[in-house]
Symmetry: C2
Subunit: 365 residues, 2 copies
């Protein structure tokens, strides 16, 4: 038992959680292959320390399936394509299965014509964007992944919530250095950080949230009282119109381009929240890109320069009190190494959820 933020935790091995998750997905009807794909994608969040997006959400996915908002045996297909693009219909399958399919299409197109770009409709939550973008890195490609999500964020000057936390990930291979992996919600703070403050009943910094009148607030519970998360920047003076624009781009690439729902019409992840009415599309949307490095310059040459770039930034003089300048992806990679070795700590509430699932499907955690 570990103590972290006052919440009791328990350690599990990666393999144990992966097997359990894959078996749960099989129990709801996923093929063995799809179940493994989905479990691997989901667990990558726990490995990288994005605890809000990992097995903590497994019950959420199962409840989506129970509510018939996600199905276990989708017929995922390409609706339309050109040599460098495709639109994929996820057929309401698990986003954890739909996204790897779509990313694979992007990579194959990049192999043929240099780059591949795939917009996806009729999907749901795909886990963490970095997992999908990193698939391209293994092929000496730059990987890009983004997704829209249900509306929690108020654009600059808006009282209403119109955008999700809409993350963007760009993963770039290097040579002797590990890859550059930027995976960022287009808000000041991810929703997971706010949930942590709610549990601990602590104040949020200015610039994270607004109340139901659109006034800046430090009360982490405002979100449940009609408030909203704020776009990266926080307020207009600090560039929140830029964070709003970035979230909007993710929404448009993922949904307006594919025929998914956008803005306030994106279906919620919690199955108990009613679906929006008058929806303009199908499910939630994602957008993926793959760019072959050697479609621009020899991969070896590029990687040598990436190494120089990374070494230059990492060796820059840090401000007092900081050890060094980080490269995007550094903290998550270190976490992954540690958790593969020492195990993944789960909050007591998450363990209870998993045990409940185990009982329901007659499986042992």
């Amino acid at each position: 038992m570990l103590l972290f933020c006052g919440m009791p935790e328990k350690l599990f091995s990666y393999q144990q959680l992966l097997n359990f998750t894959a078996k749960i997905f099989q129990k709801i009807g996923c093929s063995e292959k799809d179940a493994t794909v989905a479990a691997t994608a989901l667990l990558s969040a726990d490995l990288r320390g994005i605890d809000s997006h990992g097995v903590a959400r497994l019950t959420g996915y199962i409840r989506l399936w129970e509510a018939k908002r996600a199905i276990a045996k989708p017929e995922i297909r390409i609706l339309h394509e050109t040599p460098s693009t495709a639109v994929v219909d996820g057929d309401a399958g698990l986003g954890l299965v739909v996204a790897p399919f779509a990313m694979h299409v992007a990579i194959e197109k990049a192999r043929q014509v240099g780059t591949g770009w795939v917009s996806v409709q009729n999907s749901n939550h795909f886990g963490i964007a970095a997992y999908h973008a990193l698939k391209a890195v293994k092929e000496d490609m730059i990987g890009i992944a983004m997704t829209n999500a249900s509306a929690l964020v108020a654009p600059t000057f808006s009282v209403e919530r119109l955008l999700g936390t809409n993350p963007i990930c760009v993963a770039i291979p290097a040579g002797s250095e590990p890859p550059f992996v930027a995976d960022l919600a287009t808000t000041t703070a991810a929703n997971g950080k706010l949930e942590m403050l709610q549990r601990k009943n602590q104040k949020a910094p200015e610039g994270w949230i607004q109340d139901k009148y659109g006034k800046s607030s430090t009360n982490p519970h405002e979100l449940k009282a009609g408030g909203a998360l704020l776009p990266l920047g926080g307020d207009y003076e600090h560039g929140s119109h830029k964070g709003y624009a970035l979230g909007a781009i993710v929404d448009i690439f993922s949904a307006v381009l594919s025929g998914a729902n956008y803005g306030p019409w994106v279906p919620p992840f919690p199955a108990f929240i009613p679906m929006p009415t008058n929806m303009p599309g199908k499910g939630i949307g994602h957008f993926f890109g793959a760019m072959r490095i050697d479609a621009f310059r020899p991969a070896q040459e590029f990687k040598q320069h990436m190494d120089r770039w990374i070494q230059c930034f990492r060796s820059a003089r840090p401000v007092e009190g900081q050890e060094q300048v980080l490269i995007p992806g550094d903290p998550e990679r270190e976490m992954e190494t540690e958790r593969l070795q020492r195990g993944i700590p789960l909050l007591h509430a998450v363990v209870e959820d998993l045990e409940w699932l185990g009982e329901k499907f007659e499986l042992h955690l």
Copy 2:
């Protein structure tokens, strides 16, 4: 004469400034066609209200030419290409000429295979990103433009300046609504806003700049004393690591992918600042993208949904004191309409610079 921020201003018609600028570029040896291309790109900044990037920089370009850091008759060429990608060598030509060439290549590739992506080396300042991205919109494509720039920005936890203000523009066509045009420096505030505070000797908000020790500062003059601009977000607690990551992505796409200079090695715009030593590439770098809408779904259908998206956001309930929620590109488009009609106001110092150029090249402003 207008009075604006205490600085005397004078109004000029768009056509007058365009003709003058094109003639100046011809005087340094540009072909008539290139001179018009460059002048049109440069003046688009003045029309859109980005005064720091318009004719105010004309003397800067001429000084780059005098210092032989920019040449008037470049042999711009494609170094390498695949069906959806190209690397362009700008041959040290004016960025205002190199960028339209590269964007044209991206658009032609999109016509053929759905999307086109072009990374550019050996260029210099290209004006405003929006001008180039908007070229695609006229072809029913999404346009993307970004560029790196000389280092003024300190990554999160860094004392050193390693990135430029590295803007990203994404321009997206709509139907009856005007296009969505997000053009954003990846810093909290653009350098132009800081220059305005310097002139007026006013304090900057927290989160815009740091001093030479990496401490947050409100003194707008810190930048000249070894300080730095801060990435969008301002500090770690407010997501500056995200702004840093976005600026880094622009740097890598524009320069590591093309063979231009990156990080602290990007050549400065002012010709009097010495060039960095031990440079890893050629000139500054840009990155352009064009995605044909109908490579994803019928353009008409997409535009109808963009109209619905825009109308939904614009009609959202605004916070008290604000008229309405804006769509990215609204303020610049309104400015363009106004300035085409009423003229472009130039600061007295800018007029003096242009008159100096006029005398030098025997031209009348």
